[in-house]
C-alpha cells in the first residue's frame, strides 16, 4: 500500500464492537491506535490516541482506565499510571505529548483518519 496516497478515513471495526468506557487497539496502516468510546450523558464521544506508552515503552494505552480529571477526559496508563488527555495527547504529570488521531462513526462503523 502506498501510504502517502491514502489520505483517507479507514474503517477499523463496528461501533457495536466497542464497550462504553473500555478501550480497544486497532492496527491502522503500521500504527497502533487506541480507541475509546466515552459516555457523555446519554450519548458518547469517540477518541483515538497512539497506543504506545512513552514511559514504559509498551503498546498498552488502550488497556488503561478511562475517566476525567479536572474537566479533561483522560486515560491512565495501566503500567505506571500517568494520565493522558484524550483530546490533546498531553500527559498531565509530565511535559510530554503523544499523537492523537481523528476518529468518527460512519454508518455503524468506527473510522480513523490517516494522514
Amino acid at each position: 500500500m502506498n501510504a502517502k496516497a491514502e489520505l483517507s478515513w479507514v474503517p477499523v471495526c463496528e461501533l457495536d464492537d466497542l464497550l462504553t468506557n473500555v478501550g480497544v487497539c486497532a492496527k491502522v496502516a503500521d500504527k497502533q491506535v487506541a480507541i475509546f468510546k466515552v459516555a457523555e450523558g446519554d450519548s458518547f464521544n469517540l477518541y483515538a490516541i497512539d497506543n504506545h506508552d512513552p514511559f514504559s515503552k509498551a503498546n498498552v494505552l488502550s488497556r488503561g482506565i478511562v475517566g476525567d480529571l479536572k474537566g479533561h477526559n483522560v486515560v491512565a496508563s495501566p503500567i505506571y499510571k500517568q494520565h493522558f488527555c484524550l483530546d490533546t495527547g498531553k500527559c498531565l504529570e509530565d511535559d510530554i505529548q503523544i499523537p492523537v488521531y481523528k476518529v468518527r462513526e460512519n454508518a455503524g462503523k468506527v473510522e480513523v483518519f490517516l494522514d
Binding site: V22, I35, H52, A58, N59, V60, I65, G67, L69, I79
Partner: protein
C-alpha cells in the same frame, strides 16, 4: 585520652533501657561499657511474660534490637553474675572469677519474688514467676499437675493465675488480704473483680493465711490455713510481692533503706557518687517503684548524669496503672482509696454488666484525686490527665463515669487544657508537646503519629487520648483531614462501601449518579469494582463492570513491563500432584512461557500475550486448575509447611488446614491483597507471622496471628487468640476478614488498618471475640455469601464467547504486538531490552 569504664550490673528491662539511652549519647564514645547479665539471655519483656504460655517465644519477648551490643561496642557477660563490689579499688568481681574495674557503676539488679517463710515452701512443686526459666519450671510441673494455686492476689498474682489457667490447670488464688489487688483498688472494685475472675473459672480465696505446706492425699500438696481450712493442690506459685535485689550493695556498704532498697538521690546516685542504682532495686524517698515506666525514667536520669550532663532529675512517679487481667479491664489512678483529708467519692456500680467505677475528688469538689475502674476502663486516659495536670472538674463530676446514653455526650476534658509538658504515653514517655510537634511536622493520621512518636505502641492505654490530641491539633492548625477518595467522590472507601450496601447499588454508574460527580477515574473505578465484588460478587468482567477494572483484573492476569501478562493457577496450600506439575510444565513449554516458583508456593508463567490467555486457561482448566487471583487485590495464597502428616515435629495437619482456608476465601476481593499461612508447629516453617492472617498449630489447636506483612516495611503479626478449635478459628478469620473489607481504606494493608483503629489489637479482639459491636453474625453471613457465590472467573470466561472476544491485541487483526520481543536467558525467554530490539530490527 583513655576511655572511662562504665559497668552495668543487670540486663533486665531497666538495665537494657539504660544501655540504649546511654549509647544514643555522643559521650558514649568516651566510655568502654561492660554489662553483667545473670540470666542466660539478654533483656526481655517481663511485662508480657504470660504471653510465653500463649505462644510467644523467648525471641519474641526479647527487648534487644538486633546487633545492638556489637553496634554499641558493649561487652555483655551473659550468664555471668557480679558477686562483689570493691569500692576502694573500684572493681567488680564476677562469678567466673574475673575482675572488672569501673569508673562509673550502675546497679540495675531489679527485684526477686518474695516467698513468705511458710514451712514446706521449698518443695519442688513450689515455684515463683519472674524469669523465663521460672516459666519453664512452671510448664514442666504443670504437665504433671491437675490443680494449681497462686499465693498472692495482687497484680502479678492474677497474671500468674492466667498463666496457670492457660496451662489447663484448675486454678485457685489465695490472698492474705480481704480482697484482690488490695493496694490498687477499693472494696467495691475488688468485689467486682472477684466476681468476674470467678466467672472465668478461677477460684478466689481471700483472707487466707497459709500456715504450712504438707503432703496431700489425692494431690501432691496440701496447704493449711490459719482459720483451720485447707486446700489441695499439685503446684504452688508464690506471687506475694517483690523485694529489691540489693545484696551486692549491702555487702559494699552503700546506704540502704530500713526494709531494703538502695537509697538514691534525685540523680539516682547512691551514697557513693560513682555508683548509681535504677529500677526496682533503687529506693527513692523511701519508696520502691515496682513498675517499668518509673524504671525507664530513672535510667534516663542516670544516663544524663553519667554522661556529665546532669540534665534531668527523678522526682517520683505516678503509680496509676491500667491493665487487662484475664480479659478484665482494671485501672487504678492516684488516691484510689480516698485517703486524702476531706476527699469525697462518686461510685457507679452496674452488677448486670459487671462494671464498677469510682472517682475520688478533693474536699472542694474541684479536682480529681483518684479513681478505680473495673470491667470498663475507657475513661482511664482522660481521668489520669485530669488528675496529673490538676484540671478543674466539670460541674457534675459524676458525669465522668456515668454511662453515656442517647445524646448525652461525655463531658470532654478538652485536651487543649493540657499543658505541653503533660505526659500522654507513660510507657514511652511521650508528652503532649511531642505529639503536637509531630502533627505540626505534617502527620495527619493516628497510625503515622503512633509510629513517629512511639506513643500508644506499648500498652495502648493512651490511644484514645493520642487520637484526641491529634484531632485537636489538626483543628488548631486549620487542617481539614479530607478522607475523600478522589475528586469524584466526597467519601472515604469505608463510607462508599456502606452506601453500596445500604442502597443496594450494583454498578458504578448508579453510584456516581447518586453520590458522586463527573466520569470517575483510575482511583474510584477500581475501588468501586472491589467494593461491588466484596458485596455482591458478580463476575468482574460483566459488561457493566469491565471498564472499572485495572488491566490485571480485566485480563485476569498480571501485566508485566512489556505489556505481556503472567498467569498463576491456584495451588491450594502449595500442594500439587506430579500430574499437575507436568500439566503446567507442558503448557508452559507449548506457549514458550518463562516459569518461576513464587513466594506463595505456586508457579508463575510469564510472557503470555492477551490472545494467548484464554488458550492457556482452557488447557489449565482441563488439567483441573482454577484461577489463582494473583492479579487481584484479593486473598492470594495460603502458604503451608508439610505438617504432622509427614514432619516428625508437626502437631497438626497444616496442609489440610491451609487447603480448607484457601478454598474458603479464594477469589474474595478486599481493600488490598491479603496473604495467609499455616504452620504445623511452633518452628513456624510457613512463616505465618509475616502474613495478614497467620495460623500456627499448637498441641491443643491453633494460634491465630493477625496483621503481619513482608514487603517494604515488614511487620510481625500479633498473637490474637490461642488454642482455637477448627470451627472457632474459621469463625474468627471470617469476622476479621469481613471487618477489614468493610472498614479499611483503599490499598491499606491490615497492619496499617489496625494501627489506625483507636483501640488497636484489643479493639479487634472486642469486636471479633466479644462481639462488642453486635455485628459478628452479620459479618459471618456476609462472608458466607462470598464463599457460596464463588466461581472460577476463568472457567466462566472460557465458557462465554462474548467475553472471549475481548482477548485480542488488535480489534481488526489477529496479529500480535510486534513490539513484544523475547530473547533467551538461562534457557528461558525474557523481554528484550531496547538496544536488543534495535539490533533485532536491523537483522529483520
Amino acid at each position: 585520652m583513655s576511655k572511662q569504664k562504665l559497668v552495668v550490673i543487670g540486663n533486665g528491662m531497666v538495665g537494657q533501657k539504660f544501655l540504649e539511652q546511654f549509647a544514643s549519647k555522643e559521650q558514649a564514645a568516651n566510655f568502654q561499657i561492660t554489662t553483667f547479665c545473670e540470666e542466660p539471655r539478654a533483656a526481655y519483656d517481663r511485662v508480657h511474660l504470660s504471653e510465653y504460655f500463649s505462644g510467644k517465644t523467648a525471641e519474641d519477648l526479647s527487648l534487644v534490637p538486633e546487633g545492638f551490643f556489637d553496634a554499641s561496642s558493649i561487652d555483655i557477660r551473659l550468664g555471668d553474675k557480679a558477686v562483689a563490689i570493691d569500692r576502694k579499688n573500684k572493681e567488680v568481681k564476677s562469678a567466673t572469677g574475673d575482675i572488672i574495674s569501673y569508673d562509673k557503676l550502675v546497679l540495675a539488679t531489679g527485684s526477686y519474688p518474695f516467698v513468705p517463710p511458710i514451712p514446706g515452701k521449698d518443695r519442688p512443686e513450689c515455684l515463683v514467676y519472674r524469669t523465663i526459666e521460672d516459666l519453664e519450671a512452671i510448664k514442666a510441673t504443670a504437665a504433671k499437675s491437675r490443680v494449681g494455686v497462686v499465693v498472692g492476689g495482687g497484680l502479678l498474682g492474677l497474671e500468674a493465675a492466667k498463666a496457670l489457667k492457660d496451662l489447663g490447670l484448675e486454678t485457685h488464688v489465695v490472698e492474705f488480704a480481704p480482697r484482690l489487688m488490695a493496694v490498687q483498688i477499693d472494696e467495691g472494685g475488688g468485689k467486682m473483680l472477684r466476681t468476674k475472675i470467678e466467672e472465668l473459672g478461677v477460684q478466689v480465696h481471700t483472707g487466707k493465711n497459709t500456715q504450712e505446706i504438707v503432703d496431700g492425699e489425692e494431690t501432691t500438696l496440701r496447704m493449711h490455713f490459719a482459720d483451720g481450712s485447707h486446700l489441695d493442690t499439685d503446684l504452688i506459685l508464690f506471687s506475694a510481692g517483690i523485694r529489691p535485689q540489693d545484696e551486692l550493695a549491702r555487702q559494699a556498704e552503700l546506704e540502704m533503706g530500713e526494709r531494703g532498697g538502695i537509697a538514691v538521690n534525685n540523680f539516682c546516685q547512691t551514697s557513693d557518687e560513682d555508683i548509681f542504682a535504677i529500677g526496682e532495686c533503687a529506693l527513692w524517698n523511701n519508696r520502691i517503684f515496682g513498675l517499668v515506666a518509673p524504671g525507664y525514667q530513672m535510667s534516663q536520669v542516670a544516663a544524663d548524669a553519667i554522661s556529665g550532663e546532669f540534665s534531668s532529675e527523678f522526682k517520683g512517679a505516678d503509680m496509676s496503672t491500667k491493665l487487662k487481667l484475664m480479659g478484665v479491664d482494671v485501672a487504678s489512678i492516684g488516691d484510689a482509696h480516698g485517703m486524702t483529708k476531706g476527699a469525697q467519692s462518686y461510685i457507679y456500680t452496674d452488677e448486670h454488666n459487671q462494671v464498677y467505677k469510682k472517682i475520688v475528688v478533693s474536699e472542694d469538689g474541684k479536682y480529681l484525686l483518684g479513681a478505680v475502674l473495673v470491667g470498663e476502663a475507657e475513661e482511664y486516659g482522660t481521668l489520669l490527665q485530669m488528675m496529673l495536670n490538676n484540671i478543674e472538674l466539670p460541674e457534675f463530676p459524676d458525669a465522668l463515669i456515668l454511662p453515656q446514653r442517647g445524646d448525652s455526650a461525655a463531658p470532654a476534658m478538652g485536651v487543649d487544657k493540657l499543658p505541653d509538658s503533660a505526659q500522654i504515653c507513660s510507657c514511652n514517655n511521650v508528652s503532649k508537646g511531642d505529639l503536637c510537634c509531630a502533627v505540626q511536622g505534617g502527620i495527619t493520621e493516628l497510625g503515622e503519629l503512633k509510629s513517629a512518636t512511639k506513643a500508644a505502641t506499648s500498652c495502648g492505654g493512651c490511644a484514645a487520648l493520642v487520637g484526641q490530641v491529634l484531632n485537636a491539633e489538626l483543628e488548631k492548625l486549620g487542617i481539614e483531614v479530607k478522607k475523600d477518595l478522589c475528586e469524584h467522590f466526597p467519601y472515604s472507601r469505608q463510607e462508599l462501601y456502606h452506601l453500596v450496601r445500604v442502597d443496594g447499588i450494583r454498578s458504578f454508574e448508579e453510584l456516581i449518579a447518586k453520590h458522586g460527580k463527573g466520569k470517575g477515574c483510575d482511583i474510584c473505578k477500581p475501588t468501586t469494582a472491589s467494593i461491588l465484588a466484596s458485596c455482591w460478587n458478580d463476575h468482574i468482567i460483566e459488561p457493566k463492570l469491565a471498564g472499572l477494572q485495572d488491566t490485571n483484573d480485566y485480563f485476569m492476569a498480571n501485566m508485566q513491563k512489556d505489556g505481556t501478562y503472567s498467569v498463576v493457577p491456584r495451588v491450594p496450600g502449595g500442594e500439587i500432584t506430579p500430574d499437575g506439575l507436568i500439566a503446567i510444565g507442558q503448557i508452559g513449554k507449548k506457549y514458550n512461557l518463562y516459569t518461576k516458583i513464587t513466594g506463595g508456593q505456586r508457579i508463575d508463567l510469564f510472557g503470555a500475550k492477551v490472545n494467548e490467555l484464554p488458550l492457556i486457561w482452557k488447557e489449565l482448566i482441563d488439567a483441573g486448575f482454577e484461577s489463582g487471583h494473583a492479579y487481584g487485590k484479593s486473598m492470594r495464597t495460603v502458604k503451608s509447611c508439610v505438617g504432622s502428616t509427614w514432619c516428625r515435629y508437626g502437631v497438626q495437619d497444616s496442609v489440610g488446614m491451609a487447603i480448607l482456608v484457601e478454598q474458603r476465601y479464594r477469589g474474595i476481593r478486599s481493600p488490598h491483597k491479603v496473604k495467609l499461612a499455616v504452620s504445623g508447629c511452633t518452628r513456624e516453617c510457613a512463616e505465618a507471622q509475616s502474613k495478614d492472617i497467620g495460623v500456627i498449630a499448637t498441641e491443643k489447636g491453633w494460634n491465630l496471628y493477625l496483621c503481619g506483612n513482608g514487603g517494604m516495611k515488614p511487620r510481625h503479626a500479633d498473637l490474637f487468640a490461642s488454642d482455637l478449635d477448627d470451627v472457632t478459628l474459621i469463625k474468627y478469620i471470617d469476622r476479621f476478614f469481613m471487618f477489614y473489607i468493610k472498614t479499611a481504606d483503599r490499598l491499606q494493608r491490615t497492619s496499617v488498618w489496625m494501627d489506625n483503629l483507636e483501640g488497636g489489637l484489643d479493639y479487634l479482639r472486642d469486636v471479633i471475640i466479644n462481639d462488642s459491636l453486635g455485628i459478628g453474625e452479620e459479618l459471618e453471613a456476609q462472608m458466607n455469601h462470598l464463599v457460596n457465590t464463588y466461581q472460577c472467573e476463568w472457567k466462566a470466561t472460557v465458557e462465554d464467547p462474548e467475553k472471549m472476544k475481548r482477548f485480542r491485541h488488535f480489534i481488526n487483526s489477529d496479529e500480535s504486538d510486534s513490539n513484544v520481543v523475547f530473547v533467551n536467558e538461562r534457557g528461558q525467554i525474557r523481554p528484550a531490552r531496547d538496544e536488543e530490539k534495535r539490533i533485532d530490527a536491523v537483522t529483520v
